[in-house]
């Protein structure tokens, strides 16, 4: 991202006292991830050290330092979805996409992640695709479902 654009973003919601986590979430909301080369400017805008920013960035699982694929698929491995054998849904996805959890397909189409509960347990197993929750997923639906996300 261009320097001025980041600067605009960083001054849009000045928070008092400055809040590292919310600032990183805002950067991620507009860029899709937090670029490593943005850390110095983020640190300066908040008047904290780069180490402070890096520490927060590495702590939270949902803050990313790299762009995801065109589509982000998150498989729920919370206990309720585990009880409903959601692990089989994950196995099907891994086999079909030929990637492991945390990886992106070579063509940049899909990033696969796991999550622990998205709160739709009673209609699990749950999948979140690009922010939309899909419930009652059966492993045999996976090939057709993936077709929809090119």
């Amino acid at each position: 991202m261009s320097k001025p654009a980041l600067a605009v973003l960083l001054t849009r919601h000045p928070r008092k006292p400055p809040n590292i986590l919310q600032t990183l979430l805002e950067v991620q909301a507009s860029l899709g991830f937090v670029p490593a080369d943005a850390l110095p400017e983020i640190a300066r805008s908040l008047d904290v050290t780069e180490a402070d920013v890096a520490g927060v960035l590495s702590y939270y699982p949902d803050l990313r330092t790299a762009r995801t694929g065109r589509h982000l698929i998150r498989v729920c491995l919370g206990e309720s979805c585990m009880a409903n054998h959601g692990a089989k849904v994950l196995d099907r996805l891994r086999a079909h996409l030929k990637i492991e959890v945390g990886e992106t397909t070579r063509d940049g189409r899909v990033t696969l992640e796991r999550t622990y509960c998205v709160g739709t347990c009673p209609v699990g197993p749950s999948l979140v695709v690009d922010g939309d929750v899909i419930g009652r997923v059966r492993p045999d639906q996976i090939p057709a479902l993936l077709e929809e996300y090119q």
Binding site: L21, Y59, L63, G78, E79, C121
Partner: protein, 492 residues
């Protein structure tokens, strides 16, 4: 014009509610009203229609069912659905009926009565009402609510805070999400009553990032409440804001949550001091669970004695259970404390899903104990669970079927703790990793004699020496799995 009701709850949408809405969007003379959900999720998408004497319902509706619905063919009276009729709804009494963002409907059904009463009372009297109610926190630790309020109220500080814990980290639970999406004004009302009681002028709702619809609904509700002039106590504005988390389970622990609210790594603080004395920015702070706040308006409106008249000796009021896993009827169940676990699974859960056989049930989220079939006659109340070394937690009940591999499940629990440990204390940080490794070795057929003893030792250390309940409770699901299914841990 025929008015039909359809839930807008994320679970209903994940089950296909939006497909119905799209299909029927342009049907002439049909108005579709999106409401909260009844919580009978096994019936979603559930379409309802007004009829004198109560609504009719069409469960598991499909787009092609519209002609039948319009012709009154095949529906069931909502009041005849046993899963709902057998409950005793209080906090969730309006669910499935009203539109989440209609302040007018909220008020018409009794909303804001608690706040009105609180405004007329002195802070002391509000705390006394909570004391009479014997309400205990619903976030997991079950601490008496009034004592925290009393402590915060008695502090002389120029700034105090009220914080709703909407991190809802226990997998298998979603009642907080339903409240935020379905009746956000109830949460806001509860927080305002607390603000009045302790003298807070600022508040935050710390909402997990996995709940975007809840955060959005809350923000809209706050705007509506602001415009209606609600966000003030005795003329002094009370600022409420929604904060998003970033996927860390331990951030549900109240001191880690405060660290995270301040924008830092969500690491647990040593207690004391408790947040009621020194919390957000070291100011007196009430951190309470969403369901706890949402229970407060009824207590003020109906009186603490009403709340105390429900439930058992040490557990007053209603318990909100989220019955799920491999049962036939997963959903939200609000009943007075005291029913047994077996009754809940049979009567509300409807027994096992077709083709599934019961193996074990876990109560209280990822830190909760497992119960085998022989352990189900335990009453659902805090003291009985404490005596059994178990927890009710946030009310999650997850039933596992006999296709579940207990060794793999135990490894999953330890891996979860290892992933989520904040790292501040050694027993939790190292113990969970060693525990996971031992179970992985067993799984790979490379177990050694003494492994299970080592795991037991390690567990005792974690229970005794961890800084917070994550490390202290993490061994319980693993140890109860080994206790009740020892054969599966001797495979090698």
């Amino acid at each position: 014009m025929t008015r039909l009701y359809l839930s807008n709850d994320t679970s209903a949408r994940a089950a296909g509610a939006d497909r119905l809405a799209q299909a029927w969007a342009h049907v002439p003379d049909v108005e579709l009203v999106r409401t909260s959900s009844r919580g009978a999720f096994f019936l979603e998408p559930l379409v309802e229609r007004d009829r004198p004497g109560g609504r009719m319902a069409w469960p598991n509706a499909k787009p092609e069912d519209l002609p039948n619905i319009l012709a009154w063919v095949g529906g069931t009276p909502v009041d005849d659905i046993p899963f709902l009729a057998d409950q005793r709804r209080a906090t969730f009494e309006n669910f499935g009926i009203t539109r989440p963002l209609s302040l007018e409907e909220y008020q018409r059904r009794g909303g804001l009565k608690g706040l009105e009463r609180a405004v007329s009372l002195a802070p002391d009297a509000i705390v006394q009402e909570l004391k009479r109610s014997q309400l205990r926190g619903r976030g997991g630790a079950a601490f008496p609510v009034w004592t925290k309020w009393q402590v915060a109220k008695d502090q002389a500080a120029e700034q105090k805070y009220v914080v709703a814990n909407a991190d809802e980290g226990d997998a298998g639970t979603y009642c907080d999400r339903m409240i935020m999406e379905g009746e956000p004004f109830r949460l806001i009302e509860g927080m305002l009553i607390c603000a009045k009681a302790i003298g807070a002028t600022r508040g935050y709702i710390y909402c997990r990032q996995e709940y975007p619809a809840a955060a959005q609904t809350l923000r809209e509700a706050l705007t509506i409440a602001e415009r209606a002039g609600l966000l003030a106590v005795e003329g002094i504005p009370v600022h409420l804001d929604v904060f998003l988390g970033a996927g860390s389970y331990v951030c549900g622990e109240e001191t880690a949550l405060l660290e995270s609210l301040e924008g830092r790594r969500g690491v647990v603080r040593a207690k004391p001091p408790y947040p009621a004395l020194s919390g957000l920015y070291e100011k007196p702070t009430i951190v309470s669970n969403v369901l706890t706040f949402a229970t407060v308006p009824s207590i003020l409106a109906r009186g603490g004695a009403w709340h105390a008249s429900l439930g058992t000796d040490q557990s007053r009021g209603t318990m909100t259970l989220q019955v799920g896993g491999r049962v036939k009827q997963p959903g939200l169940v609000e009943i007075p404390f005291g029913a047994t676990l077996a009754e809940v699974i049979e009567r509300f859960g409807g027994g096992m899903a077709p083709g599934a056989r019961f193996k074990a049930v876990q109560v209280g989220g990822p830190l909760g104990s497992l119960f085998p079939a022989s352990g189900l006659d335990i009453p659902i109340c805090y003291d009985a669970f404490a005596r059994a070394g178990a927890i009710l937690g946030h009310g999650g009940i997850v039933v596992y079927d006999d296709a579940t591999d207990m060794l793999d499940l135990a490894r999953h629990f330890m891996a979860f703790t290892a992933d989520e440990s904040c790292g501040k204390c050694t027993p939790c940080r190292i113990g969970s990793v060693r525990g996971r490794e031992i179970l992985e070795q067993l799984q790979a057929g490379r177990g050694r004699s003494g492994d299970l003893d080592l795991l037991a030792d390690l567990s005792e250390t974690m229970k005794a020496a961890s800084l917070c309940a994550l490390g202290q409770r993490a061994p319980y699901p693993v140890l109860t799995a080994i206790e009740h299914f020892p054969g599966e841990f001797r495979k090698n």
